[in-house]
Every structure is written in structure tokens, then in C-alpha cells.
Symmetry: D2
Subunit: 257 residues, 4 copies
Amino acid sequence: MVDSWAEGDAVCLIAPREAPRIVRLARGPQRVGGDSVLDLTEQIGRPVGGEVPWLGATYRAVRPSLSDLLTTLHRGAQIVTAKDAAQILLLAGVAPGGRVAEAGSGSGALTLVLASAVGPGGHVLSCDRRPEFLENARSNVARAGWGDRVEFRRRDVALEGWGEDGFTSVVLDLAEPWQVVTHAEKALVPGGIFLAYLPTINQTAELRGALERSAFAMAETFEILRRTWHIEGRSVRPDHRMVAHTGFITHARLLAA
Amino acid sequence: MVDSWAEGDAVCLIAPREAPRIVRLARGPQRVGGDSVLDLTEQIGRPVGGEVPWLGATYRAVRPSLSDLLTTLHRGAQIVTAKDAAQILLLAGVAPGGRVAEAGSGSGALTLVLASAVGPGGHVLSCDRRPEFLENARSNVARAGWGDRVEFRRRDVALEGWGEDGFTSVVLDLAEPWQVVTHAEKALVPGGIFLAYLPTINQTAELRGALERSAFAMAETFEILRRTWHIEGRSVRPDHRMVAHTGFITHARLLAA
Amino acid sequence: MVDSWAEGDAVCLIAPREAPRIVRLARGPQRVGGDSVLDLTEQIGRPVGGEVPWLGATYRAVRPSLSDLLTTLHRGAQIVTAKDAAQILLLAGVAPGGRVAEAGSGSGALTLVLASAVGPGGHVLSCDRRPEFLENARSNVARAGWGDRVEFRRRDVALEGWGEDGFTSVVLDLAEPWQVVTHAEKALVPGGIFLAYLPTINQTAELRGALERSAFAMAETFEILRRTWHIEGRSVRPDHRMVAHTGFITHARLLAA
Amino acid sequence: MVDSWAEGDAVCLIAPREAPRIVRLARGPQRVGGDSVLDLTEQIGRPVGGEVPWLGATYRAVRPSLSDLLTTLHRGAQIVTAKDAAQILLLAGVAPGGRVAEAGSGSGALTLVLASAVGPGGHVLSCDRRPEFLENARSNVARAGWGDRVEFRRRDVALEGWGEDGFTSVVLDLAEPWQVVTHAEKALVPGGIFLAYLPTINQTAELRGALERSAFAMAETFEILRRTWHIEGRSVRPDHRMVAHTGFITHARLLAA
């Protein structure tokens, strides 16, 4: 079975020593980046993975991975990094067919990761009280073609909760997640997972206090560090600089009824 | 829609300050751990999340998350840790519906993670040349109920490759992954991802050399560190000890035809 | 000029794959550790570095380094680790001939490090309000032969300060160093350095607030991580476990008059 | 006893939110940095720590600490960082009165640190085969006023050794320190410490192999990571970026005769 390009597909162009680029497959020339013009018309119907000469180089046109999508996101907010997103998925127990409640939507980076992981049979309810963030997140998810598994809702979860229940996980990228703890107790199934991502340790300590007084148990907080290596011939060493901090991840599990 | 227990389900028993335990839901008393006897018969047909009194404590019976499954694995080999498994999924682009080739099967820990992520519509081909490892991995995957999306095959991938192609990712937990690079070139779709997990930096440097001479590009090597925090009232600090090393993750992308 | 052993010298016995041991050079057999008996009499007058057969092995008798002294300390309190002690010396500007004020004395580990660094021409004033800690610290410093460059004083520095001035550095290993900030302003020369070592980030944040409202400027807080490597033939990798946290180091400089 | 400025002293000018600057105390105006002119004449004879109005700000004139000297070094080579220099001092057992052999001199950063630590009664022999590095290192040490405790010698230590013995430590910042292992065996006293600082893990593994076949024992390799914190009011978190790698430190002890 050959995988072929269709109009409207998201195409990822890759080449050595270049950042990946994602464009929509359309008929006729399109403007990409600043002034560059690209015409992918002849790819339509061809097998995925073909060569595309452009700007003096040869790119390969492939389907974007989740990592490509994250790298090329339209940013509207500080985005969660891939190293953290990966841990969030695993620890929040987000798997194909899962039902996840998110607040806030932010740039849609985390929404994108959740939508990828729940798959076509899953459901993500993503709430934010700021319409411009909702719009940006919605467009980032639509670009990946996963609009039908995500519902965006304008809603202040701190005040009103999600207005639904039966979720297997709640994932929070909010400044004051302690305001959402009691709403999360109602929204989750028993054994369901609460997870929050926070930039400072003060916020994290305040959240841990709120969880201590809640129906959640088994709380844990950690940070993830990613150290890349330079490996070229006889020169093998860590790279000289790294990201030292993005956020603290706290997760807990709904235990009491 | 209420989620209810059926005979044969995997049940995860959780309680504060206890490690999760996974048991099969069966009629009649069953031996668990050493000498303890547990009878879950009356849970059959009841809603997921109910209380189970046992050994003087009250447990809650919930569906196991991937994290629970990893924690309670029957071990037959050094297992990949959750912090690394999570990164491997994201960087190898493993998503619902994906087709992934794995070598070797090891304890089945990584197979389990891959099987969870590809979901019911996906496919994992997991090869190992050691029958005892295959058997152990198969049993760990079956316990999670994901046997139908994983094919185990006894095969020395270094010599013969996987014998199939069209994979979106290959994931290697082998001592000499450089022997598999040319097989991986054939097994992957264009833009497909090669990922290997290795304990030492020597092996990693040798692999990077082999990738340098291959059709793969955009190679990167990194390690993931996870630092947990102690947060209790006025005492907020990192925990005193941590895992300093598990493995080096190297990934690259199939670029040339 | 040959360096020879004299009665009363501190002797460090080292052997491969053994922790160093420090004993006092005395005439006649002495009890070491539990039941072992060691007789070093014949070393007196011999050159430093000779062999000592003991307990079926061959040890070498050398002068102890600061690192040996720290490793073999009589413990009376949580001790500062070598990785932190080293940074403290450099950042507190402790150098030969320096005048350093310390509070509290604790186990004397930090006192020992300071005494080593100021050398025979320097001076350390170490205060603690707990007599048993003072006694222990004094004995650890005496064992190294540096008693004449350290003055121990029973004194609650939080209430009374050090009662002296003209110090080039103050070094604090106290639970509430913010109580000492105004005393430190008086004790230090212009440009003098304030340094505190604290186990939690809450204490550290409270101290930084107090420094903000003081005559100190250029405040900085950091932590030091030390990662050891396993290097044996073809197996080159970080060790599997490490110390993840000891303390936060905060330093600042007296700027205003 | 008041500490007063004399002509020729090294003066460190500090102010909030400025990097420290070191100038020589001279009569008459002097050019500093690019075009700025500074006249410190009237400080001569005044107490250390006074105010100096300059460029619209008020600086305080203090004696430079070792840390100030390192920060303001004339660079001729990649310099050892303060976090590593501090560990090197402690682990190489460099203390007041010590005798240390160094190769190569490099920028003189490490020489400066060693010279500070051995104090006026100590001795550092620093060899390099490149005259321009020797000259630069010599000038950096002279600026600190420690020229009389350091001997610089043009010499290829890999070929000829140091040409002296009785050292308590050898400290190496050379690309191929394994060539120096047998020279170090002869240069050190029994129990003396060998320490090398290397940028890559390959070099480090090669050195460890050479030490394995030598009279040195108790070899250990580690790296030091320094993570700074951002602490401002309610925002307490690690800084976003950090130095991920500078070098690997390997040390061992002369055991066999």
C-alpha cells in the first residue's frame, strides 16, 4: 500500500542541517516564510517521501511527526517543550482512546501533544478564558488535522470547572492550578490523574499544599533535564550549553471517592 | 456510560503510600505476591473505582495506566525507565496508528510502551533472537491486553533485518545497533525515524559513526535526567539522591532515498 | 630536604580500593576502628610515604590532604560536602592570610576547610551557641593541627554578632542566616563577602529578601552537582546514581558604606 | 589596623549590576577599557573601600578577590571556570605552603588559582612549550602580585617532565596528559595527587587507561555542574539556561613506590 500525497495534506520538508518546515499541500505557488515561493502542485498524487528542489537545495517531502509539529508551531504563549510534553503524556496516562481535560489551552502545544496521543478514538476538552489563545491553539491543532478529537471551550476553569466528568486525566498549564483542585476531583474517574506544569517552585509548593488537603494522593513533583552531546569523530563531549529550566511537573492520583 | 469490571480485566489496586499492584480479575480467591490471598469476585460487574478491603487497608480498584504497567513488570532484562520511554515515544514519532519495528524485545518494557502508543489501529513488530526474552516480553504485553497489536518474532535483526518494510520508526535496544543501520534504511519509509538506546558513550559514538556513513541525517544524541523534589510544608528542596544515568538516546531520520 | 615522621603527626594510611584512614603517630600499639591494633612506632623518624603492613594488606603512610581530613571527620552534624566546600572557598574569597568569620561551627567540616585555606597567617573566628558542637568542631580542627589559626567562641551570632570586625568574609551554616545580615554588614570590610549555605529553597528565598533590603549587592544563588563516571575498558558511562542535592549557596558583597 | 591603598596596588571597582573591573593604582589619569579615562591618584594613602565617582555612577574601590581576578583575566586560551578551579584545588590537595607542578600554563587562569591557594610560602612550577602562552600567564599572575611564588618555565613536559621533584600535586591542562603519567610518578611525593582537566570523554578514557597501568591508584573522574537560581519576590526558579559542560576532572594518587 503506497502512501500518496493529497491536496490539503500537511507536508514536512526536511534536509540535512536545516530545521524542518511544514506547508499545506495546495495547487499553485505559495509564499513560504518571508519572500520565498514554493510550488508543490506536482506532488499531488505522488508517493510520500519524494524530492523537492527548492532554494538551491533538495528537500524531502514527508509526513510531519509530532516533533515536527511542535517545532514549527505558531506561538501565542510560552510553549511546553518536547522533553516535558513527553513526560506529561506518560505520567498523565494519556493513551489512545483516552479522555483528557485540559486548562488552559495556551499556544496549543500541549493540546497538540494530547490530541496526538489520544488518537482518533480519543477526546480532549481544552478550556481557556482568553479567546485569542483559544483561537491560536485551535489553528495549531487544525493544522495537524486533529480538529475532530479536540473540543475547545471558552471557560474559566478556576471558577466553573470543565462542566463535564468521566475524564481519565486533567492536565493544567495555568498560573494558579490550586484553584482547580476541587473541580478536578469531580471531573476525573477514580484513579484518574491530575497533572500540572508550573514555572516556579513557589507555585509548585502552593499546589502541593492544596493537593495535601484534597482527595488526591501519591503526589510527586519533578523536573526533567535534557543534555545533548556533541559527537564528531574523536570529539565526544556534552554540548557546552543547555536549557537549565522550563517547568516543574506535579502529578497526583484521585484516590478518595 | 459507566465503566464496569469484567472477568479477565487487569485491575490495579492503589492506596496511599503503597506501590500499585496489578492483578487479573478472576472468580474465587487468588494468591498474590507471597502468601496473601485476595478475592475480587464481587467486583465483577461493578463500576471501576470501587473500594477493596485487603490486608487491613482499603485499596481502590482502577484500570492500570501505562505507568502502572511499567512499574509492575515481570522483569527479564534491564528495563528502560519511564523518563526515557517517554522521550523515545515522542522522538521516534510513535503515535496512534503507527507502524514500529523493534529489536530486541528485552523485558518487553519498551514493547509495552510502543504498543500503548500505537493504539488498537497500530502495529509493533518486535524481534529478538533469544526465545526466553521473547516469551517474557510476550507475557508482559498480553497482561496489558495488547497482544493483538504486537507481533513477536524470533529473529536476529543484525543478520537478517526485520523482513518487512513500511515502518514509520525503528526502535533499538541492542548492544550493537550499528549492525542494524543498513537494515533500518530498508525497513523505514522516507522521513522515518531511527532511534537507539544505549548504556555507554563508547557504543553511542560507534553508532554515530555508522549513521554518518548512512542514508540517515539529522542525528542527535542526548540523555534525560529526572530530579524529584521533596515538598512538605516549609521544607522545599530537591530529593537528596537521584538516578544519574540510565542510557544515551540517539535518533536520526531517513533522508536519502 | 626529606620530610620525616614525628611523634604526634597525623598519618593517613591509603591502599587501593580502601577508604583513607587517619591515625595519630604514637609510640606503642593503638586501637584503630573496632578491634584492630596498629603499631606505628617504627615510622617515627622515617621518611613520609613508607609502607605499613596491616591486616594482611600493605598501606602507604602519607600526610593527609584536606580531602582526607574531610572524609574521616568525627561527625556531630550534617557536614558540608567537598563539592560545596570548594565553591564556598572560592566564592567567599578565602585565601592565605584571610580573616574569616563563621557561624555556626557545626561539625567543624567547614571550619576545617576555612582553616586550611587561610593558612598559618590567617584567622578564622568560628561561633556557635551549642557547646557540644563547638567541642566537636574544635577537636576536628585540632586533629588537623590547625588549632592556632581558629578561634572558637560560644556565642549566638543571630543575637550578638561576632563581636569583632575587619573580616574579609563571613560564612554561614545556620538555619536562619537572615538574622545575621545586619551583624555581617558591621563585621565585614568594604567589598567583603557574605556567603550562606542552606538546605531548602524557602530559606534561601527568605535570605535573598533580607539581602535585598541590606547594604549587600551582587547577590547570587546556585547549586553544585557532581556527577562521577564509570570508566573501565570499553565501558564508559556516568555512574548510575548520584547525590542530587546538598544545599543552596548564596553569596553577596558588601557595597554600601 | 587600617588597610590603605598604595601606588601599584590592584584596585577592583565594583557597583551594583556591573561586572567588576581591575585597574592598577597609578598617579595621574589612565585609559581604561576603550576611551574612558579614570584618575585614582587621590585614593593613594586612603583606606581601602572608598567611593570612586566615575562615568556617572559611584563605584567602590576594594581589593580584588580571586574570583574578581579570574573574571577579568587577559585571555590567551580557553580558561578553566571557577566551578572547576575550586574543585581542582580541593581534590589536588593544594593548600598554603604546597608545592605544585603545572602543565600547561595556558592563559594562567589555573596558575592564578594555584598561586592564590599555595600562598606566600608555597611554590608553583608552571611549564608550557608555547612562549606566547607563558608570557600571557606570567602577566596575569604578575597583575595579581603573586609573581614571586610562581616559576614559569618553557618546557615540553610530555618529553622532558618538570625536571624537579618533591611536589605534592601535579595539575595538568594538556591535550594528551597520558604522556605525562610517568613523569608525574617521578615528580610527586608518595601519596601525591595527579589531576588532569580534559574537554572530551575520549581523552579522559585514554588517560584512565594510562593511569591503570601506572603507580597511581584511587583514580576517579567526575564533572561539576553549576545551576544558578532566579530569586525575585514570588518568582523562585532555576535560571533558564546554564553551562552544560566545561571539562572532565580526573584525579589519582601516587601509591606504589
